[in-house]
């Protein structure tokens, strides 16, 4: 098996990415209800639509966290070079 030298996403960015999962995937019991109706929508419908709007914001934060890491040149001398062909 060949180790491919790719940068892992930072922990902060992963945590930001887990927020939409936590809000829409792993907490269904908490928001799956009809009342209160918001803007004429059942609450669960409203909740999902709300997270359609919030997820890009989370992604934007994750992108902001990742960008300084990715903009540096790939062969930066300060970076300890990992063995890329280790088995």
């Amino acid at each position: 098996m060949r180790q491919l030298d790719v940068k892992r996403p930072s922990l902060g960015a992963v945590i930001v990415g887990l927020i939409p999962f936590a809000a829409t995937c792993f907490s269904v019991r908490l928001w799956d209800r009809i009342y209160p109706m918001v803007l004429g929508m059942p609450f669960n419908f409203f909740w999902l639509v709300l997270w359609i709007l919030i997820t890009p914001l989370c992604m934007w934060f994750a992108y902001r966290l990742e960008r300084p890491r990715t903009s540096e040149p790939p062969e930066a001398p300060s970076q300890p070079k990992r063995e890329s062909r280790a088995l």
Binding site: M1, R2, L4, V6, P20, V49, W51, T55, P56, Y63
Partner: protein
């Protein structure tokens, strides 16, 4: 001119424009295998974004999702949940795959497995799974396409001829232009989709205003209240308005992922 003729004219116009764009996409590009599979790795930000958006919108968007919502009701809400989430997953996976693909000049998914695990049996298996599992998906999309054309042409084009014609055109321009053809057809599709969204929002706003006026009239005329109230129990236009939002905001999620890939 009957509605039938107008619908047929518009459909053939759109198909013709799409086919021309698909064939023209490879113009001025010397086609080799790399050009065919990954567009010579030279797609810009906007084209990749549109290509990914084009991948998202399938006949499921128009037929499957709405049909599922109509027949099953509540469970269709899962569509609102999973659509943003796949973009979140892509944000962490695709840039890395992109990077590896560019570095080692990979062209298919199977190439990646060859590189990573160095087993030709695994590579062949991945390639086979990719092809075999594409068949039911294609069949599904073509059936959906047939139904849409049949309904939109007021039954004047049958399901089977529509599928044959559409599939021949798609196969031809993909054969000629590869992923470039697909990308440029996605551009046309996205322009049409945005027009559709605009029209639908305008129509919904109009319906919503009329709905509110109706309700106000009803309140003043208490005499016939029961009959009118029954009429207004049908689902309000607000639901229709929100129906359009997931695919619209889908653009934003895809954008984040693509931006990250291109600014590496």
């Amino acid at each position: 001119m009957s509605a039938n003729v107008i619908a047929l004219g518009m459909m053939s116009g759109i198909v013709a424009v799409g086919a021309i764009a698909g064939f023209y996409a490879s113009h001025r590009h010397k086609m080799d295998l790399e050009q065919w599979t990954v567009g010579g790795r030279g797609f810009g930000l906007v084209l990749v974004w549109l290509l990914m958006a084009g991948e998202v919108y399938t006949t499921f968007t128009f037929l499957g999702a709405s049909g599922w919502a109509y027949s099953r009701g509540g469970p269709a809400l899962y569509i609102l949940g999973y659509q943003p989430l796949w973009a979140v997953v892509s944000f962490y996976l695709l840039p890395q795959i992109w990077e590896v693909g560019r570095k080692y000049r990979l062209q298919t998914q199977a190439d990646f497995f060859q590189l990573r695990y160095g087993s030709k049996y695994l590579t062949a298996f991945v390639a086979l799974v990719g092809v075999v599992f594409l068949i039911p998906y294609l069949q599904l999309q073509l059936t959906g396409l047939g139904i849409i054309v049949e309904v939109a042409s007021f039954q004047s084009i049958g399901r089977a001829p529509a599928m044959v014609i559409a599939f021949s055109i798609v196969a031809a321009f993909v054969f000629v232009s590869g992923v470039r053809g697909v990308a440029w057809v996605s551009v046309i599709k996205d322009v049409l989709l945005l027009c559709r969204h605009l029209c639908r929002y305008c129509r919904t706003l109009y319906l919503f205003r009329r709905h509110r006026t109706d309700v106000r009239c009803t309140r003043t005329r208490q005499a016939s209240a029961s009959a009118d109230a029954r009429r207004h129990q049908e689902p309000g236009p607000r639901l229709v308005l929100l129906n359009g939002s997931p695919d619209f905001f889908g653009f934003l999620h895809v954008a984040a992922s693509v931006c990250r890939q291109l600014y590496r």
